[in-house]
Amino acid sequence: MSRRSPLLYRKPPMGRIRTGGDKTGGGGTYREWAMMVIRFSHGFSRSALVLGGLLLAGLPLMLGHAQCKPPDEMKARIQGKPNAAAYTDLGVWFANQKNYACATDAFATSLQMDPTQKDLAHVAFMLGVSLYFQNDAKEAIPALQEAEQLGYKDNQLHVILASALEGEHSTKEAEAEWRAALDVDPELSTALDALSADLLLDKDFHGIIASLEVPRLLGQRTARQSMNLGAAYASTGQLDKAAAVLRDGLNTSPDSAAIANQLATVLVELNRTDEAVTALELAVAQHPEDAEAKAKLAKAREALASGK
């Protein structure tokens, strides 16, 4: 918050645009205000067109802020004939400079200036992404959800929204977004990793198996997916399958001490202690600092020596 111009947080002139019971109408952050405008325009586009004009008077003096310095060409464009497209372009420029705070404000301004603009959904998306890149997941979520409701089609919307929802511990909603992302790209590792982790938290083991035990995904299985799938099989009593999945995962990710440890646990459960010892010896050789692997190895060796 402190990175942004205080001007951007002044209360917008909302008194003129009351929308009935909308609680955000009287104040809140700039983004909340922008979101209200989006929602308002979605339902009452003609009125919102008028609103956009009214809002021009309340535009913040973004360009005056030290952190938001656009190139001269853009500055001239904004100062000469400001319009929503110019602010959107400015937001894109700031975003490409990784200045997401200024990008956020530019996109919000664009939305305020023209809540009926053709690219409303896209600008809302960009607003949400800019917020997300500032680690402001809480405010990114409504912007991204609004973009989704406005019909914005891009798989990155689902991915970023899901990530933001994860950040806010809205696991169920995040799961839905991960699934939406996977509908578009069934091989998306980010989504499969996160979804399977969420399902593991939910103890939805069959859901994990259904999500990950798909032939198409076999070549792409990440270490996390192997562990989550292994855990799902183990939790449903399918220890042989768990061992096979974890073994395969370890062969793909030989450096993963976590997989080796999990595999060893399953192998011990299966009374294949000798195999567990081999797996743990490799893990300890690669990760001498791994206390868990060392302890397990010692225990497994002891069990092996005692014939258990």
């Binding site: 959107t88 896209h122 990155q156 198409r216 793909t252 030989p254």
Partner: protein, 583 residues
């Protein structure tokens, strides 16, 4: 605008990680080669396993290719053995044979998988360079030299060879091991494969309409011939100014047919020429499915098939009053991996008689209540197998736009396979084929074995052919219990074709890469098939191969095909156009 967040750091994490992994792979491969020197390959009379084997329990290696039970055609070029191993840092390969063959021992250099040569002409913003999957990036490989492979093949005919890979570390202590069994078939492939070699470069026009390939890139499509005993394919046709699609050879290998696009989206031209060493397609060789010239309307020839004796051509045609977009569901995507969905929703089968020049609907497959497509001839030419579904509007009012392959917004269609007598063109009653119909799935692209006993077809949830979930099934030609083929890979299995001797099937798949590759499977007398065998080096790593078809000619039976149809004014006027079936 700002939509491409791939340019931003947050979304660069994955590619960066992959790049790092690939770089590490390359480096480690180089180091490994340095450490092991040039181990070569030796036949040894010594015991198969290394003497320093400790009595420890060996960690299982993931043996990825060839799969256990693989059957190789005789004479095929040496395959790359591929495995993953968390334990080993060096490997030995020991091959033993069931009969008298002396065991073979080799030391693997420990080479990583790598991406093959890239065609710079087909690099585009709309595609990505081929990347190794996580599994591939973690894989180790060994390719026998030609002499060793010949020895393996010679001693594994009928009786399987056992291939054992053992991983060593810590100065030669065995830590890991796995094995597979593989056989060399007595059945030769005995015919070359004709296929299309295409770029995957979807293109958005100025109006936002996506084409599978920009008109300016159509010349990048090549047609090639592959003798599987040779290390690379031979290009027989390229730089064609218009787009050609499905091709078909008569069973006797004497006649070649190919759909060629004509003026103003008229897909009503068909080339029919005799197969020769040096072939030329000229205007006089063109059949006009659209002689009335009602451009954009009509009688689109689709999946045309030359009869076994080359006399007839069977094809799918829309009714005369239907426009192209009223008969086909066509959606193209910018995702190069699966960039097109294409299937007919209306149409009848008709047969064309080359001797009379007359095209006639085939009774039993000409009912406008249905879409009837994918017609193929039985080897004796006596009956036709085709795919059928209730006819429908390809784009029902209110239907959303599909944004990716298998999107729920795709028009839904599930075909059933039917069989109808040809009966000298008089047709008959179409009967559903048990095991390939009314099963809730889409059954399509039937191909009958040369002995007439088997039918291999594609099954998927929706549409036909090159779908991500396409799987190959085999069923007795007269119907019966279908069997999912062992050769199916993890992603897209379609465009199959029988070898003339009926013992091999070639098909396309995206198992290893979004850039489609060709595979072989052996099929025995009982219809049992074997794990997929990759046909290596069929094209550049960033090009796709599809529509493979065995041609009943000698391996060098076609040297080149010249296309001079552009000399014909009607065709020349149409150039260039977009391609179909480029997945």
């Amino acid at each position: 605008m700002f939509p491409d967040f791939r340019a931003l750091p947050w979304l660069k994490i994955k590619p960066l990680a992959l790049f790092t992994l690939c770089a590490a792979a390359v480096l480690s491969a180089g180091l490994m080669a340095t450490q092991t020197g040039a181990p070569g390959l030796h036949r040894l009379l010594a015991p198969v396993y290394a003497a320093q084997d400790a009595p420890r329990t060996l960690s299982p290696i993931s043996f990825d290719y060839p799969e256990d039970g693989s059957i190789f055609p005789p004479g095929i070029t040496p395959p790359m053995f591929i495995w993953r191993d968390a334990a080993g840092t060096s490997w030995s390969i020991d091959i033993t044979f069931a009969d008298k063959g002396a065991p073979i021992h080799a030391v693997a250099k420990g080479e990583r998988m790598h991406i093959g040569a890239i065609d710079p002409d087909t690099v585009a913003d709309s595609n990505s360079p081929p990347k190794l999957t996580l599994q591939q990036a973690a894989s180790w490989t060994w390719t026998p030299d030609a002499r060793t492979w010949a020895a393996i093949q010679a001693d594994s005919v009928d009786q399987p060879a056992t291939v054992v890979i053992t991983g060593y570390r810590d100065g030669g202590v065995a830590f890991s091991r796995s094995q597979i069994r593989m056989t060399t078939s007595r059945d030769p492939v005995s015919a070359p494969i004709f296929y299309r070699d295409v770029p995957l470069m979807p293109s958005a026009g100025v109006n936002g309409v996506v084409s599978p390939l920009a008109p300016t890139a159509i010349h990048l499509i090549h047609w090639r011939l592959r003798d599987i005993t040779k290390p690379e394919s031979h290009t027989v046709l390229k730089d064609m100014p218009t787009c050609a699609n499905c091709h078909s050879f008569s069973a006797d290998g004497k006649t070649f047919g190919m759909d060629i696009d004509g003026p103003a989206n008229d897909k009503g031209l068909y080339a029919l020429v005799p197969v020769q060493k040096h072939m030329t397609i000229q205007g006089k060789d063109m059949v006009h499915w659209n002689p009335a010239g009602d451009i954009g309307k009509t009688r689109v020839g689709f999946m045309s098939q030359v009869s076994p004796d080359g006399r007839y051509v069977l094809s799918t045609f829309a009714g005369p009053s239907l426009k192209l977009l009223e008969s086909y569901y066509v959606t193209n995507f910018m995702d190069y991996r699966f960039l097109q969905v294409f299937f007919p929703t209306r149409g009848v089968l008709a047969w064309y008689d080359r001797s009379t020049g007359v095209r006639t609907p085939l009774p039993g497959a000409d009912d406008p209540k249905y879409v009837q497509t994918d017609g193929v001839w039985s080897p004796d030419g006596k009956y036709i197998v085709f795919a059928r579904a209730e006819a429908r509007d390809p784009r029902p009012p209110g239907q959303g736009k599909a944004t990716h392959a298998l999107d729920a917004n795709e028009t839904q269609i599930q075909y059933d396979l039917y069989r109808v007598p040809f009966n000298e063109g008089k047709g008959g009653v179409a009967e559903p084929i048990a095991g390939a119909s009314h099963n809730g799935m889409s059954n399509n692209f039937p191909k009958i074995s040369p002995d007439g006993r088997w039918l291999v077809f594609v099954q998927c949830k929706n549409g036909q052919l090159m779908r991500p979930d396409s799987q190959l099934y085999i069923v007795p030609a007269e119907g019966g219990t279908p069997r999912r083929m062992r050769a199916n890979t993890r992603l897209m299995n379609s465009w199959h074709s029988w070898s003339p001797n009926g013992r091999w099937l070639v098909f396309s798949s995206k198992a290893r890469s979004p850039y489609t590759q060709m595979y072989l499977t052996h099929i025995d007398a009982d219809g049992n098939d074997s794990p997929a065998i990759l046909i290596d080096n069929a094209t550049a790593a960033n090009r796709a191969v599809n529509i493979p078809e065995f041609v009943n000619i000698p391996a060098d039976g076609i040297d080149d095909i010249q296309v001079h149809v552009a000399d014909e004014p009607a065709v020349a006027a149409a150039l260039p156009k977009a391609a179909n079936g480029t997945n």
